[in-house]
Amino acid sequence: MADLTTDFLGIKSPNPFWLASAPPTDKEYNVRRAFEAGWGGVVWKTLGSDGPPVVNVNGPRYGVIHGADRRVLGLNNIELITDRPLDVNLAEITRVKKDYPDRALIVSLMVPCEEEAWKEVLPKVEATGADGIELNFGCPHGMSERGMGAAVGQVPEYIEMVTRWCKKYYSKPVIVKLTPNITDIRAPAEAAKRGGADAVSLINTINSIVSVDLDAMCPEPSIDGKGTHGGYCGPAVKPIAMSMVSEIARAPATAGFPISGIGGVTTWRDAAEYITLGCGNVQVCTAAMTYGFKVVQEMISGLSQWMDEKGHTSIQDFMGAAVPNTTDWQYLNLNYVAKASINQNDCISCGRCFAACEDTSHQAIAMSDDRKFSVVDAECVACNLCVEVCPVEGCITMVPQTAGSVDPRTGQTVDGSYANWTTHPNNPGACAAE
């Protein structure tokens, strides 16, 4: 079995699966049970300053986008940071870390944007023996209205400033958790790095309204007839998060900067994908909230099986492996030609590929009177729509056309060489090779 041990910023954990700062890591009871279930680490539910804790709403906090069979695809919440007293949390953290020295325990923090506030709280956190801190610059609701969370995370200068304070008053690793509610994720990541952060983690939740009650005329979850936007997470946000991760991994200013990947990790495969895009580990919230702590067992067995199959002996072996292949559109090979192909043995004749292609794509699927569906190569642009709407996985595949063959759509011979938009004759800005 492959070695899943992870060293992230010098913090060791038996596997790369950490629970993200959220209800699953809200208290000692949860965290102990999470460690017993096999989680490699946790980021404790975000702590605030000493004094009266925040209060949460007493009505519904969550809304969900469901897939078929009520599968949870996206989760929206309007919960705030911890509503438990600081000293209680710190005492619990101290106890848990002592009992689980081999697991990663990170303390998430969100205090006002003043040096004094950080100077006040950080020594207390240091005293718990926790392995590091994560700065919650991401919470998109409630806390941002008070000048914290996303309100800080959207201003790179603030990120840099607060990170500096943390490095000044705290000796262990500082992770900056980024909000996705921003146009260019590279700016806050660079700011964190400039401020001396040891890593970034992303994403926190995305501003969202998941549904509207059409009788009450109120967004949901509705609290006594009113609703507000919440933070969106779960499988639905994974593509957004991975794109942001890849941008940070590719940007020259932040390339190689440690990243903890968060957003929709539900299976071993999601985790492997994040790691190939440059993450040193992953954090999970919604999957645990949907299926319970036990869900980590599949992540562990699956990742380890896949690594064995691929001959990877450690996470390091494939970390960032997909980054060099993540590029800009203009560098994609325009000489590459593929055609869809339907495996008639697997086809169940539902006609979804036909409807999709005929109505909204390139009229490249033919339907016979006896419901046989086949690809018309002379029309197929290889858009992949049919592949994705087909209910049978693997029934339609994209077949690369061999160099030298003629593409019946364009009448041109498939060229085996590489040529992209930058040199394409149709590109007004193309610089012809001289």
């Binding site: 071993w268 495969r269 319970g292 036990k294 869900v295 599949e298 699956g302 380890s304 693997g394």
Partner: protein, 444 residues
């Protein structure tokens, strides 16, 4: 050319193609798309009822999740960790009375997650790879004798070998596997699966199987006790209850287990003689298997006659329906009175029964059913003369298979308790192995 209509008992009632078709897998392996759809239906329930209902406590939600994330091999490990004969159990478990009966989707929609077939998909995938998935622990220097190479003995032996012990399995039959090899209906275990499973299981190492060794005949308990550190008895129920009615000595009257045994060992199903009219007496899985397989061999009329009502039948409703769907007639509340015929059976006479004050008795009304062949399936019995305390007609056990004699454990059909299922035998063998190992290690 013979056919279903040929009178008396005859071979070759059906052609080879039809026979091959009849004896193919009862449930075909799931195809990739079916696997996806079936696995997708599992809710990953907490403290799942299906797990509680599985006698071997397989973590069903976990293995199904592992299948749906594209790692059937990891799923198979989850299964084998608890049930090393998970491959056979996936084929033979009456899931409709076990895991699938209590699946929340059975309760909610009348359509359970297809646990058994998904289990088969996972185990078949891993077993098709060459490497055995388990390694043995460092040698303990302990030697354990197991008598009976059925599911209980094999499960016990594998677990003990894995824990570092040397295992010697003796079996009276020429082949290992117990009823997996000699009893289970042919359409449940196709392609010689029982033997390939034994070979696969043995490939962990540390297990020797000696066939043709009968306890009380070639080997003896006292001798084993002095040669080995512990003994596990898993001899099953290889004796049969005799049909004690007039005419039961007539030609054509046979024990159902023997008939199935011959069928399972046959290289050419066409050569098996089968009656045009077959009557099977009994109400369990053996009766159903004998009746269905008679039909599949080409018998024209097959009747299962059971002395009590449908609800009391130990074959599940699913098994009853399986029989009915093959054209087997189910006759309830009829007890056999005599086999009729001049030298060879031609009919069985039954008397209808009724419950009177909780007691079953004949009503006096008689019925005759034509029968060239009569299979008796009225229960099996312990067939090993061992000087151990019995409970009823089985070896009395306490805890994880401890018998009345120190150092001797028992499990599977031959031991008290249990429900005479393959999966239960596997669970008992595994648990006894753990207890034997812990006992020997404690004593070391």
């Amino acid at each position: 050319m013979t056919s279903s209509m040929t009178p008396g008992i005859a071979a070759n009632r059906l052609g080879q193609d039809e026979l091959a078709n009849n004896f193919a897998d009862l449930h075909m392996p799931l195809q990739p798309h079916e696997v996806k759809v079936a696995a997708d239906r599992c809710y990953f329930c907490h403290d799942a009822p299906c797990v509680t209902a599985c006698p071997t406590d397989i973590d069903i939600p976990l293995f199904i999740r592992q299948i749906s994330t594209g790692t059937p091999e990891a799923a198979a490990k989850t299964i084998f960790d608890m049930n090393i004969l998970g491959g056979m159990c996936a084929r033979v478990c009456p899931t409709e009375e076990l895991c699938e009966q209590v699946c929340v989707r059975e309760v909610a929609e009348g359509k359970p997650v297809e646990i058994g077939r998904l289990q088969r998909h996972a185990t078949d995938t891993l077993m098709a790879q060459d490497a055995h998935p388990y390694k043995r622990a460092a040698s303990t220097g302990k030697k354990i004798a197991i008598v009976g190479a059925g599911p209980a003995g094999l499960s016990c032996g594998h677990r003990l070998a894995m824990l570092g012990n040397e295992v010697m399995i003796y079996d009276a039959n020429p082949k290992a596997g117990g009823l997996n090899e000699y009893g289970i209906a042919a359409y449940k275990s196709t392609n010689d699966f029982a033997q390939s499973e034994v070979d696969w299981l043995k490939s962990i190492g540390g297990i020797t199987i000696e066939n043709g060794q009968g306890l009380g005949r070639d080997i003896h308990l006292d001798q084993l006790a002095s040669d080995f550190d512990a003994i596990f008895l898993s001899v099953g129920l290889s004796g049969v209850n005799a049909l004690a009615i007039d005419g039961s000595e007539k030609d054509g009257v046979q024990d159902a287990v023997k008939f199935i045994n011959d069928l399972r060992q046959s290289n050419d199903l066409a050569t098996i003689p089968i009656g045009r009219n077959v009557v099977v007496i009994g109400g369990g899985m053996t009766a159903v298997d004998a009746a269905v397989q008679s039909k599949l061999l080409g018998a024209e009329q097959v009747t299962i006659a059971y002395r009590r009502g449908r609800d009391a039948m130990s074959a599940s409703r699913y098994e009853q329906d399986l029989a009915a769907s093959h054209g087997v007639k189910l006759l309830f509340n009829a007890q056999p009175n005599a086999v009729l015929g001049n030298g060879a059976a031609t009919a069985v006479e039954f008397e209808y029964t009724a419950q009177n004050a909780g007691k079953l008795s004949g009503t006096g009304e008689m019925i005759q059913i034509a029968a060239d062949q009569v299979f008796s399936a009225i229960g099996q019995t312990l067939n090993a003369d061992v000087d151990l305390k019995l409970e009823g007609r089985k070896i009395a056990i306490t805890g994880a298979g401890r018998t009345s004699r120190a150092g001797v454990w028992a499990g599977g059909d031959c031991a008290s308790g249990g429900n005479d299922l393959t999966v239960t035998a596997v669970a008992e063998g595994r648990d006894a192995a753990m207890d034997i190992h812990e006992t020997l290690m404690g004593a070391a």
